[in-house]
Symmetry: C2
Amino acid sequence: MKLSSEQIKQKLKDAGLRVTPQRHAILEAVYTLGNHPSAEQVIDFIRVRYPGIATGTVYNVLDVMVESGLVKRVKTDKDAMRYDAIMNRHHHIYCAESDRIEDYFDEELDELLQAYFRKKKLQDFKIEDIILQIKGNFNDNSE
Amino acid sequence: MKLSSEQIKQKLKDAGLRVTPQRHAILEAVYTLGNHPSAEQVIDFIRVRYPGIATGTVYNVLDVMVESGLVKRVKTDKDAMRYDAIMNRHHHIYCAESDRIEDYFDEELDELLQAYFRKKKLQDFKIEDIILQIKGNFNDNSE
DNA sequence: TTCTTAGATAAGAATGATTCCTATATAAGA
DNA sequence: TCTTATATAGGAATCATTCTTATCTAAGAA
């Protein structure tokens, strides 16, 4: 998903963050890259236009954005952490072989789960979010 | 869960793996520690009785065990990978604040999900496993 | 039982991802 | 414009994990 410069700025402001060129570039990168980029992919993307950005800054900013709810961390079987800017409730379809992640939106399923856990409460736990990790294989895997 | 030495041995054999003292100790550690240990926790646990075990061996063996279906990788928001020896279908209740993971078994839910995805097929994807990550907060968090 | 060898391990170097440190720079409110 | 709390650059440091190679051993064969 591509956002306008103004939209990105507004998102940072809404999250209560100072608007800096670095933060702007990083949030833009996560949105533009779309498919759950790693910090490294974000850095590579940004350095094309903005070579000076420091590695540490990207990690810092991504952390800050996670804290502020602008992005989410996505961990896979692999080592590097990945980031997701889509904040609407969604799930992940994941193939370990290719390390590919696809978003899965399904409101019907979400309602089903919500209803289920409204009835069947968990002891001593306050649910904030439920994420399905759907594991398997893409049929069109290039292998 | 605590397993007898004989049970552990049998599990290794059933998985088609050679039975070595290291593998025995590692599988025992994952079972005994119970709560989704990281590789580091496994190493610390084993070194008390078996100081010589090499770091690389633990990582190797854990990978081999994942390949052979003896343990599963468990991913959290944090960097380090964690491992789970419970292979029955179950889900995870996770609190990012404390990094605590609890197992959640619920056959009724599993059937619900199975029925749901039997009807609503995903295009171009063969589902092998569905794991819920239930995120939130434990009420008794010591904080 | 002993022999054989494919496969496993030790030890530690190497790598890759991430965090930390601190001097400098800057966003944004006064 | 000034002020200052906050952010960034640059690079060292740390942490998790993988790799390399010499040595060792489990387990089937003789």
